[in-house]
Symmetry: D2
């Protein structure tokens, strides 16, 4: 992958705002992680569903845009298995399941620092004709 | 609804962190909104999918916990129809579709300030026996 | 709508195989129903999830193809609220939520003959350039 | 697994009606297949989405009920990658992703006879207290 492309994929303002760290970027694949801070909880005291989804979405966006062709998320389905708690480090892996010229499908898994499965998600992108890099 | 319950529903750290404002809370229903700031964009310059989902999730959590009985999100499916842009004010309405003693189903719609449909989502909760208020 | 288009939409072999009846066809909308026969049950004795989904899918396919432009289902998410039982007549309404030149989004609701909500579903299609009629 | 349990899992009327064959049953796992007959097509001439979903649902039901504890499907999300055509033999594998005392999560993959990925699906069940065998 070209450096200019990787730089672009890493320049996500919302990911930075949440302190999401990108651990790995490959064609069709990404690994990202985040620390569950007090600011990221819900009113029950667990990691907010929006935080977990945001982590998933960052991995999904990087993996699906990793060819330099603009990919826009159109559907994501997420299942929550286990709560995240303050201090957890949550890691998401996104992997390409399938793609054709117009659509791409990705599978995301979220684990905590001791390997518990926190959530699973499936995402679909619409692939535009344009290259953004 | 009791004031202590409403206070609890409004005390969501992640919602506050994102500047999400709660406009309406009723049994089985909630309306919330957020301003799309520069910090909330993705690397294509549009509102991050995680931001839109987080807005949806806040409305979903309030609506599903509005009876004082602990409801935990287990599945959410989101479809993105139109991009949000910096300066947009996005509003989500969550409404109860159905519930029984164990599960509850909610429908969320996201619109921008001129009434364009930005996203739709369906969410399911598992309803625990305990009352949190 | 042209008669040749309606004839095409009604000529669905699997819908016929299941005895699914089309009650209404309009642009972006369809209503279909089916009788829950003994052959359509699961091993718990309730209406099979596949039967309910098939009913949903027939309504979805008609509504999304009702412009004569080829629409191909790419994602469907279904939530089951209540079991169907032998002898039930299940009816599904599909309505267009949104569409652009490439994607279309539809919402389906399934009720039984006494108005109980049995299931809800969201479906997305990819819209090809070709017209099939 | 006890024979009486396996017999029960194989006695699905709708699966029989569609000619679905069960290839493998284990705790938390199932493999099933079906021949795409002319009766199973949609009005575009491809395998009906309802047929593919029904295959997925049979595998999901067997895998999630394989402990003898009654499991009821509450949510399924399906992504269609490639069309099935008349004469295809479609095979679905269902595998358990996670379960706790109340909920179970399953992942289904559908392939044709030459190994093309036709569809992926995620399913969630609610696990009742009762044992059906």
């Amino acid at each position: 992958m070209k450096e200019v492309l990787i730089d672009k994929l890493l320049a996500d303002p919302f990911a930075k705002y949440l302190g999401i760290q990108v651990k790995k970027v490959e064609e069709g694949k990404a690994i990202v992680s985040v620390l569950v801070k007090e600011d990221f909880l819900n009113f029950h005291g667990a990691a907010n569903g929006g935080l977990i989804f945001s982590l998933v979405d960052v991995a999904f966006a990087i993996a699906s845009n990793s060819y330099g062709q603009t990919a826009v998320g159109v559907n994501v389905n997420i299942n929550y298995m286990k709560a995240g708690i303050p201090g957890d480090i949550l890691t998401t892996t996104a992997e390409e399941v399938s793609k054709n010229h117009k659509l791409g499908f990705y599978r995301m898994l979220v684990h905590n620092q001791i390997g518990d499965l926190i959530a699973t998600a499936d995402g679909m992108v619409y692939r535009k004709k344009e290259m953004f890099v």
